[in-house]
Each structure stands twice: as structure tokens, then as C-alpha cells.
């Protein structure tokens, strides 16, 4: 008795320059926010919350920039990359 096993090998996918650029937008934005937070720590009132009002604690510009970068990376990029790869495969 013999059995043949067929292994599907995952071929490492080559990402196009466009895909790499789109993937980098979110992390670069978040990085810009992180650098801003380090350069101007006083813009993050959560680090010294005593005596701060609601708006000063709720709206923290460097953290908002980081949040936008992360939201873009996790919510928008994955689907976009899928569509980009599908379009690339269809055109080959």
C-alpha cells in the first residue's frame, strides 16, 4: 500500500513597491506621533494629570496621531493588500 502525500508549499509572496508603501504609511504615522511625544512630552497631559480638565485629558495630539496610524494599519491596510494582490494575480 502506498500513499502519496502532497504538500502545499507556501511560496513567499513578493510584495510590490506599492504594497510596501501602503504597509509603511500607518507605522510611519504612528512613529511620527511617538517621536512628537518624546520631543514634547508636555503635550501628553496624561503624564501629569493632576488638576487637568476633561478636554486636556481626552485630547492628546501625539496619542491621536499614533491612534490614526494604528487604525489605518490594522483596519484599512489588510483588506487593501488583499485587493492589491488579487488585482496583481488577475493581471498576471
Amino acid at each position: 500500500m502506498s500513499a502519496e502525500l502532497v504538500h502545499e508549499l507556501e511560496v513567499p509572496r513578493q510584495r510590490t513597491a506599492r504594497a510596501r508603501f501602503v504597509t509603511a504609511i500607518g507605522p510611519l504615522t504612528a512613529l511620527a506621533g511617538a517621536i512628537w511625544a518624546i520631543v514634547q512630552p508636555y503635550r501628553i497631559t496624561l503624564l501629569h494629570p493632576h488638576g487637568q480638565g476633561f478636554w486636556w485629558l481626552f485630547v492628546e495630539p501625539p496619542l491621536l496621531v499614533i491612534a490614526v496610524g494604528l487604525f489605518f494599519y490594522f483596519a484599512i491596510v489588510p483588506g487593501l493588500l488583499e485587493d492589491l494582490e488579487e488585482a496583481g494575480a488577475a493581471s498576471r
Binding site: 501602503v22 504609511i25 504615522t29 481626552f58 485630547v59 490614526v68 491596510v77 483588506g79 492589491l84
Partner: protein, 194 residues
């Protein structure tokens, strides 16, 4: 409970930043791929329209001068109109790329409103500087949607259009109520509170 003006600017900056990133991604991958998912096609016109709607409470509650009120009202109208036109373009209700002139008009009106409602000189204080800068920036940037009317597939115009929002967001994040700009602040501006 009303937020200080600078916080409102920062919240709008966040909206514009997200808008700019979406437009930048669309410019890079191309409109055809970007619009493969319906929700993504509506993100940009929907956000533009929503920012226009949100400008109305700003107009209503920040009435520190008639000029401010009129400027915010003008922004609300043109942002909503331009967002609605973009929504209709995505939905297929209208087709001509010349409808994109509404966005050029929105930029031109917004830029003019910035310049007209700033009564002080560039270096009076930071918000004065930013009003002048944003005004001129938007007037220059009105060229990009104009180019998109003539050349709808121009990647340069699409990228420049996207970066207009990203740079606008950076300017808005720089805003403070009373603060020096490059070491300049007029004694008439008041005392910087932070």
C-alpha cells in the same frame, strides 16, 4: 464643558490626517483597487461630509467674533457641498470629472475665509501665523483638485491632493490659543497659558 478652541483644532486635525492617509493610499494603489470594497469608496467623501456637518457646532458655539462665525459657516457649507458631490460621484449619480471643481472651490473659499477672518499680522502669535499659512496653503492647494478635473488619472495630482490634507493636519496640530511663533508674540496677544 465646551472644549477650548485649540482642542477643537486638534480633533479636526485628526480627522484630516485620517482623510489624508486614505487619499494617499488611494493615490498609490489606484482608484479602481481602492473602490473594490464599497465601504472604502465611501470613506473619503463620507469623512469630508461629516467634517462639514461637525463644522456647524463649531460655528454655533465659537462665536468670539462675527468673522469667525461667518468663516466657520462658510467652511461647513463648502465641505458639505464638496463631500456631497464626491459621494454622488462614487455612487455614480454624476459622472463628469468637472464636478471635482466643487473641491477646488471648497479649498479656495476655505483659504480665503482663513485669510479674511485673521485680523492680525503673521507674527502676532501662533494662531495668527497658522491662519495666514493655512489660508495661503489652501489657495495654492486649490490647484490640485483643479488638475484632477483636467487629468483625472494624474498620480501627481492625486498624491498632492492627499498630502494637502496631511500637511493641513500638521498645521492644525501646531495650533495653540495663545503661544509664541518662532519666538515672536505680541504683548497684545495675552499671556501664553502653557
Amino acid at each position: 464643558m465646551q472644549p477650548p478652541a485649540e482642542h477643537v483644532h486638534w480633533l479636526f486635525a485628526t480627522g484630516f490626517l485620517l482623510l489624508g492617509l486614505c487619499l494617499l493610499a488611494e493615490a498609490v494603489v489606484g482608484t479602481e483597487i481602492w473602490q473594490r470594497r464599497a465601504w472604502r469608496a465611501y470613506v473619503w467623501p463620507g469623512l469630508a461630509f461629516a467634517l462639514g456637518v461637525l463644522m456647524w457646532p463649531v460655528m454655533t458655539f465659537f462665536t468670539n467674533s462675527t468673522l469667525h462665525m461667518l468663516a466657520h459657516g462658510a467652511w461647513a457649507e463648502v465641505l458639505m457641498a464638496a463631500g456631497a458631490v464626491e459621494l454622488a460621484l462614487v455612487r455614480g449619480k454624476i459622472h463628469s470629472p468637472w464636478w471635482r471643481l466643487s473641491m477646488a472651490a471648497a479649498f479656495a473659499v476655505s483659504g480665503t475665509a482663513f485669510l479674511v477672518h485673521e485680523q492680525n499680522a503673521w507674527f502676532f502669535q501662533r494662531s495668527s501665523f497658522l491662519h495666514h499659512l493655512l489660508g495661503w496653503w489652501l489657495l495654492v492647494a486649490a490647484l490640485f483638485p483643479l488638475v484632477r478635473c483636467v487629468r483625472p488619472r494624474s498620480q501627481f495630482a492625486a498624491t498632492a491632493f492627499a498630502l494637502t490634507f496631511v500637511i493641513g493636519a500638521v498645521f492644525l496640530y501646531c495650533d495653540r490659543d495663545v503661544a509664541p511663533v518662532f519666538g515672536h508674540i505680541s504683548p497684545l496677544a495675552g499671556t501664553p497659558h502653557r
